[in-house]
């Protein structure tokens, strides 16, 4: 994410509404989850446990990860009963 310079920032530390949508915090993580869909049993445990709502389900199937807000906490890998999620160091 490109950081703004002094002339681009709103004066007086004013933040307008909806900053949580614009401010992607996914670049904080050191490890990121990688899913092996061959092992996945679509139990949806990871969907419910993810604190940053990075995993979605559609029609009873686990979808792909949206890592733009993922902090790499590893909870999804921990709760996965099928051992389908591995935490891999980011490059």
């Amino acid at each position: 994410m490109k950081l703004k310079n002094a002339r681009e920032i709103e004066e007086g530390t004013v933040l307008k509404e909806g900053t949580s949508k614009k401010n992607k915090t996914g670049n904080w993580k050191t490890f990121e989850p990688v899913v092996d869909f061959d092992k996945c049993i679509h139990c949806m445990k990871c969907v419910m446990y993810c604190p940053d709502i990075c995993i979605f389900q559609k029609n009873g199937k686990r979808g792909k990860n949206d890592l733009s807000m993922c902090k790499g906490c590893g909870i999804c890998a921990q709760v996965c009963p099928a051992n389908a999620i591995k935490m891999v160091k980011r490059k």
């Binding site: 002094a6 002339r7 920032i9 004066e11 007086g12 509404e17």
Partner: protein, 378 residues
């Protein structure tokens, strides 16, 4: 149209506050600025203003209420002195960082200890680095003029402004002050149109800024100060059309051909002018530079004017363990080696014409020491 009114320095400040009729005033009384709030609450009781006057329990709350009200979209003014200003310290920085356009009359009084209610500049000098614009006033007339400038300047640049006057010497002495008509003041300052209002817009202010953004936000204040310097001159000239006065960052009194120059702030300048008149009659080439705008500091302009003159900087405050604040600034600006520091008048100790004459004469005879404490029993 202007008229002349007999007012004290405090009276001039409360008079302009009445004419401005700010939306919110939050203040806590402290000597010697008390009269400003006394007068103002009388105006409110008499129905001459319709301000929301918040009676707070301390100066810390006073300025906090002012900052909050300002960002809610109100035009805000307040006043304080000495320990009151010291108690505001934390929020002074907040006001500058949040770009709060407020105006505060500071009636200079020394800081404890020992406790003392009289004038020196140690209170406002301590607050010089917090991001406030500082204007110093020689007399009640200038208090009125500087308030007019300050309101426009603050709202143009979105920075808080401090108008300083000498406690008791200016604040409690009655002078003839040129006053504008109420409608002229209203027309000059116009309506306050804040960019944002906490009551109307979906915004958050006073947010956390970590190392990735803090420096940039401070840099904004640096840029704002540069802008404020230019704006000050422009607004000063605008005010000059309404009320004639010496315009500019500083007043030059018989400076052009002077060999020895005193640089000073506020009320002492009047005494120095009187001594200069006397010495000029005897053919001595002496002059005065009265600094009006202390923050932002007019560095290049001062260097141009003071050039290769013998400079005596008179400080009514002391930086314990180092050189006095105004001296350091002037020395840095001029890069002069022919510069001398005088410290005087701490805790309201009077400065007399004979002492200023003594300083000038020693300087003319090349006898002045680099640093002298005038008027103290050593």
């Amino acid at each position: 149209m202007k008229k002349i009114k007999a007012l004290t320095g405090n009276g001039a400040a409360s008079e302009i506050m009445r004419q401005v009729n700010p939306d919110v005033v939050a203040a806590y009384p402290i000597t010697p600025s008390t009269q400003i709030m006394e007068d103002f609450s009388q105006y409110l009781a008499d129905g001459k203003v319709d301000t929301e006057l918040i009676r707070v329990e301390s100066e810390h709350s006073a300025i906090s209420a002012c900052v909050g009200a300002s960002h809610a979209g109100a035009r805000v003014m307040t006043a304080t002195s000495s320990a009151g200003l010291a108690f505001m310290w934390e929020v002074l920085g907040v006001a500058a960082g949040l770009r709060t356009p407020m105006v505060m009359n500071v009636v200079n009084r020394t800081l404890s200890s020992p406790i003392n209610i009289h004038c020196d500049h140690s209170d406002s000098m301590g607050a010089r680095d917090l991001g406030w614009i500082q204007i110093y006033s020689e007399n009640a007339n200038e208090v009125y003029i500087n308030n007019l400038i300050a309101i426009k300047l603050a709202e143009k640049i979105n920075l808080p402004v401090m108008i300083c006057q000498d406690g008791f010497i200016t604040s409690h002495c009655v002078e003839g002050v040129d006053i504008l008509e109420d409608k002229d003041v209203k027309k000059f300052i116009g309506e306050f149109k804040p960019k944002y209002s906490l009551l109307k817009d979906n915004i958050a202010i006073g947010n956390l800024a970590l190392p990735d953004y803090f420096y940039e936000i401070k840099m904004q204040n640096v840029i704002a100060m540069e802008k404020a310097k230019k704006e000050f001159l422009r607004i000063d000239k605008e005010v000059n059309k309404l009320l004639k006065h010496e315009t500019g960052y500083f007043e030059e009194y018989k400076l052009k051909d002077a060999k020895v120059v005193i640089v000073a702030l506020s009320s002492t300048c009047g005494t120095v002018k009187s001594v200069i008149n006397e010495l000029r009659k005897k053919g001595k080439k002496v002059g005065l530079l009265k600094l009006r705008l202390f923050r932002p500091f007019p560095k290049e302009e001062l260097k141009r004017v003071l050039g290769n003159k013998k400079i005596i900087v008179m400080d009514r405050s002391v930086s314990l363990g180092s050189d006095a604040p105004l001296y350091i600034e002037i020395k840095n600006a001029t890069e002069s080696k022919d510069i001398y520091s005088i410290i005087y008048g701490l805790g309201g100790r009077n400065i007399y014409e004979k002492e200023i004459k003594y300083i000038f004469e020693r300087a003319l005879n090349n006898k002045l020491k680099k640093l002298e404490y005038v008027g103290v029993r050593k």
